[in-house]
């Protein structure tokens, strides 16, 4: 069979697979779940195949990159079907965010800045949902905004999800009184700078077009001095650094942050210096925060896939290095 024919066959199989399961979903098929035994057998099979790759690599045959891609895909996809549970250990940085929130009295105004876009949503959206859930559960007033254009839309998605929870639904929260979305404003750190003196000048209307002074929750909020706590969800520039530089160091705001895992290591100096009060780093941070706030979302659900993916990457690094040291020894012996 020619390569082109094989490719067309593969595409046809993918389409057929998708169609079958999509029709099954519409007809109400049950979700696919591996029992604990099957999950363990799958893990054993993957481990044995990794051992085989180690043997191949030691023999001098580096596996093709598409095989590595396949293993990564398996490591990420299969755990989503497994029924295994893991204990989540809470890190001090995440606990610090939670403890600061616990100290806020009812009715406190919390400013949440959504500074991320859809690519970062798997890490930051669970944090946003857990945070909003906590705020609504404890009657904290939430003012949302964004320094990224997609931020306010991500905020709407998070609000929609949290408000559909039965416990929160029963509170009958009102837009404009219990929470508000001020929308996006371009200008990077200049926006934060202006908010230090006057929120309204940067957000003359909310994202729906309602004038600032007609929104009950914010009409008496002039600047940061009227805000009790700030929480920033960030995946790049502008983000937590800019909030620390201006809102914290210039205007004395209490700031907590949720960052993507790429950015999180850079925030540790701010935490140590007291500029940042707590940090949720990556999906792990989201899972830990969900555990503390008792909002079980995607962060917790995806932890097992995260664990597997890390183990696979570490396994491939070890396999690569074993082969490297063996070839180094062979070269040394030859001399």
């Amino acid at each position: 069979m020619s390569t082109k024919a094989k490719e067309i066959l593969a595409l046809a199989m993918i389409f057929a697979f998708s169609l079958i399961f999509y029709i099954g979903k519409v007809l109400g098929w049950e979700a696919v779940r591996f029992s604990t035994t099957v999950s363990l057998i799958v893990i054993l099979l993957v481990a044995l195949s990794l051992l085989w790759i180690l043997i191949l690599t030691i023999r001098g045959r580096l596996v093709e990159r598409r095989i590595v891609f396949l293993y990564v895909g398996i490591a990420v996809a299969l755990p989503l079907f497994m029924t295994l549970s893991q204990k989540i250990t809470i890190s001090p940085e995440v606990e610090a965010v939670y403890n600061t929130l616990e100290e806020l009295p009812e009715g406190s105004k919390v400013l949440v800045s959504f500074d991320y876009d859809p690519p970062s949503a798997p890490e930051l959206q669970p944090m946003a949902e857990a945070f909003l859930y906590y705020c609504f559960e404890h009657d904290l007033k939430v003012i949302m905004m964004g320094l990224w254009p997609q931020g306010p839309m991500q905020a709407n998605l998070a609000i929609e999800k949290v408000l559909s929870d039965e416990k929160i639904k029963s509170k009958n929260l009102k837009y404009g009184e219990d929470y508000v979305n001020l929308g996006f404003q371009a200008g990077y750190e200049f926006v934060i700078q202006r908010m230090g003196s006057d929120f309204r000048s940067m957000f003359p209307t909310d994202y729906r077009g309602t004038p600032y002074e007609q929104i009950p929750l914010v009409k008496n909020v002039k600047n940061f001095s009227n805000i009790d706590y700030c929480f920033n969800l960030s995946s790049g520039f502008p983000g937590t650094r800019e909030w620390v530089q201006i809102a914290v160091d210039r205007y004395g705001v209490t700031l907590g942050a949720g960052n993507t895992a790429v950015q999180a290591p850079q925030m540790y100096p701010f935490m140590r210096a007291g500029q940042l009060v707590g940090l949720l780093g990556g999906m792990v941070g989201a899972a830990e925060f969900e555990f503390l706030t008792k909002w079980i979302g995607k962060g917790t659900k995806f932890m097992i896939s995260q664990s597997f993916a890390h183990v696979i990457v570490i396994a491939f690094i070890i396999i690569g290095n074993v082969a490297f040291f063996r070839s180094k020894r062979k070269t040394g012996l030859k001399r």
């Binding site: 993918i14 998708s18 399961f21 999509y22 099954g24 979903k25 519409v26 098929w29 979700a31 696919v32 598409r66 891609f69 990564v72 990420v76 996809a77 989503l80 079907f81 949503a121 798997p122 890490e123 254009p149 929308g183 996006f184 404003q185 371009a186 750190e189 200049f190 003359p204 209307t205 004038p211 002074e213 007609q214 620390v244 530089q245 201006i246 914290v248 160091d249 210039r250 993507t260 895992a261 790429v262 999180a264 290591p265 100096p269 140590r272 210096a273 007291g274 500029q275 780093g281 990556g282 999906m283 792990v284 995607k298 659900k301 995806f302 896939s305 995260q306 993916a309 890390h310 990457v313």
Partner: protein, 223 residues
Amino acid sequence: MEHFALWLGGFLTLGIFSFLYKDNPWYKLTEAIYVGISAGYFVVVYFWDNFYSKFWIGVFPHKRLNEAGELIAGVEPDYWLIVGGVLGLLMLMRLLPKVGWISRWPLAFIVGATAGLWLINYFASFVMVQIQNTVTPLFGADYSASLFVIVGNIVVAVGTFTGLIYFFFSKEHRGAFGGAARVGIFFLMITFGASFGYTVMSRMSLLIGRIDFLFGDWLGMIK
């Protein structure tokens, strides 16, 4: 409509993943859609959120009434925004080769404004506060800190200073200075290793999100 939307999402997602096999027309098509949609998205958002709500409403404000039906004070037009509008228009001159040089004016404004803001902010937050926090009592007030905290303080102080010594290239890294720079490299390697670990975590999280969409939202195999 929801069915079409989910299949469209699946088609676009798998189109981009097909690049893992090799570059192909499916991937190129999806990439072209992404580029066009992204550009249009940003234009629309910046138009409504910046140009319209800041410039247009600022220069031609609507009459706004409060709950009692009284005209709210401070709805005077702000004609200074016209300067910003003019600078913005000058920026668009870049598209015309003959007058493209005019766009250097708003560009100079942007660069200058950013330089002015960053000069103070970066120095205050990234240098002064960080150094202040590094130069603190290693053993706590009256030797009250625990062993764990003392070791940590020493590690941070030594690591910060030796890391900074490594970045000082005006003096040759020899002798005691070179030794300190070498220690600095060790700390930097640990930093880069930790950053790599977190980067892997981040990339895998994003991948998990997409796989969840494919098998969960689209095919309903995961709940």
